[in-house]
Amino acid sequence: MAQTDLNIQILVVDDDKQVLEVIVEYLEYFGLCNVKSFSSAQQALTYIQDTRNVIDLVFSDWEMKHLSGLDLLKAVRGNPHRKETPFIMVTSQGSMERIKITRAVKSKVDAYIIKPFRAETLKNKIWDVLEWNQEDEQAS
């Protein structure tokens, strides 16, 4: 179990502004306030490649124009400094989802979450990926 650190840097990527807003609000509600949001994978990728800052978690939508979430995931895994960065993929329910998830798993996605989701599910996914103990946090 890793030490819970609410100050970690999280990137959120979604081309739907309303969705982006809700996810950021959820994260803030969990106490995760060091969040950067991007409305396209291209913008996120530029940041990921250029910044020297540590990135602790990427949270990205799958279906976006030009670059998809999978393209972003592959680019992140292809970067020697970022290949271990935890990555959570967001998808919507649909017939192609299983195929997509298989492909994402091949590119070493850490978790995926299906839209729509509730606060508890989102929190569980993040805490699992970062190997944080939710009980620890409640106790402290």
Binding site: I23, Y29, K65, G94, P116, R118
Partner: protein, 424 residues
């Protein structure tokens, strides 16, 4: 793809129903010895030189020299009066084993003569062919023609006694063949119509399915907005709650609009497709709204040129289906993104919608086949039905025109001409 496979299976099954030929002949002859000669000729026609219908059947017949009638196993029913003939017709009809043709003696003793009898028989069974056989020249063919009527002109023939074996045999073969070929072509025509309906329905569903994938993504986003705002609102103060409720309402309205349009496409209400006055600009906008997600994801821009009021007399759902199909095709032609130009032009009694993409166009060798059902250049991605259905909707349902050609510079142009008023 599974829908297509099912369709092909249906197609094979439907056409597999082998058609059984009907060899039943009714002979109406009051003289017993003449009646017997029909049996001799048609059932044991050993003396007759086999007919060579084609090189292929000639070969078969030369193999089967001793049974020349293998291909025409006639089933004879012989009766001796008009009353017996009508009873035989009735019985055959009841058993659903109607006669294909008959040889009818004109002079039948008391009562009805052969010509009158044939008229009665054809009233009972309009497909029945009658060959009138007479020894006397008392009725010429014109008077028989007038009596039987204009519409029966190809349903009867005439033969003088004494007849030769060859005349009887050949007439029997001719009319048996004619009856069966016509019956078979009617059955096949009906089957083809059924298949066309199936294809039409299935394509409608596959368009719906393509749109549904986009809609489901859209709904995931909207529901996340609703659930997220509700959950976060619950945990916040009054101001936060009010803001959340507004956002939830906004998202619900968006969902409802999508649902409305989708339902309209999936359930046309009835299969008659009633036409009304519409504005093509509105139909184009609705189709684009439905496709919004797919076009956006692929990075396709829409450029509209309006030089006409867009008044058309159409079935909105059908035209929506045509447009979504055309847009799906255009987006497949530009996988890396691009642009679709939409122009609406005046052409007198017609309004023309031109849709141009900036893809690779269609190779000349494929261009002439694009309207063939099951022809596709997309490999396993396409059913090859889209364009043929589009053309059917525009040209048959709406009496319009659906044209397609490569743009002289780049991409494909689809021209849809739609009538402005009801076409009689």
């Amino acid at each position: 793809m599974s829908a297509l496979r099912q369709l092909q299976k249906n197609y094979e099954q439907t056409l597999d129903t082998s058609f059984q030929w009907n060899y039943r002949i009714l002979v109406v002859e009051d003289q017993k010895e003449v009646a017997q000669s029909y049996t001799d000729i048609l059932e044991h026609s050993a003396k007759v030189i086999p007919l060579q219908r084609s090189s292929r059947s000639a070969r078969i017949e030369s193999v089967n020299q001793d049974s020349p009638e293998k291909h025409f196993p006639f089933e004879l029913t012989i009766v001796h009066s008009a009353a017996e003939a009508l009873d035989a017709m009735k019985a055959a009809k009841a058993k659903k084993q109607s006669f294909a043709m008959g040889f009818i003696d004109v002079l039948l003793g008391d009562g009805m003569d052969g010509i009158e009898l044939l008229k009665e028989m054809q009233k009972m069974d309009e497909d029945f062919y009658g060959v009138l056989v007479t020894a006397y020249h008392d009725r010429d063919v014109d008077s028989i023609h007038r009596f039987l009527g204009e519409d029966k002109v190809d349903q009867w023939d005439y033969l003088n006694k004494p007849f030769t074996n060859g005349e009887i045999l050949q007439k029997a073969r001719n009319y048996i063949s004619l009856w069966n070929l016509q019956k078979e072509s009617k059955i096949r025509e009906k089957e083809m119509q059924e298949l066309r309906n199936q294809v039409f329905q299935s394509e409608r569903f596959s368009t719906v399915a393509a749109v549904a994938r986009g809609v489901s993504h859209e709904f995931g986003n909207i529901l996340l907005q609703i659930m997220g705002k509700a959950e976060l609102g619950q945990m916040g103060d009054e101001a936060k709650k009010t803001h959340s409720l507004e956002k939830i309402l906004e998202a619900s309205i968006r969902a409802n609009e999508i649902l409305d349009r989708f339902n309209h496409l999936a359930n046309p209400g009835n299969t008659e497709f009633p036409k009304e006055s519409h504005n093509i600009h509105n139909i184009v906008s609705s189709a684009l709204d439905l496709m919004e997600h797919q076009l956006k994801t692929q990075g396709i821009k829409i450029c509209k040129i309006k030089s006409d009021n867009g008044k058309v007399f159409v079935n909105e759902t059908s035209i929506m289906q045509v447009l979504t199909n055309v847009f799906i095709n255009a987006s497949h032609a530009m996988p890396g993104g691009g642009q679709i130009d939409l122009g609406v032009y005046d052409q007198g009694d017609f309004c023309v919608l031109k849709v141009r993409d900036y893809g690779t166009g269609i190779a000349d060798k494929d261009l002439e086949h694009v309207f063939d059902a099951f022809y596709t250049t997309k490999g396993k991605k396409g059913t090859g039905l889209g364009l043929s259905i589009c053309r059917e909707i525009v040209e048959i349902e709406h009496s319009g025109h659906f044209k397609l050609y490569n743009h002289e510079v780049k991409g494909l142009v689809i021209e849809i001409q739609l009538p402005r008023k009801e076409v009689a």
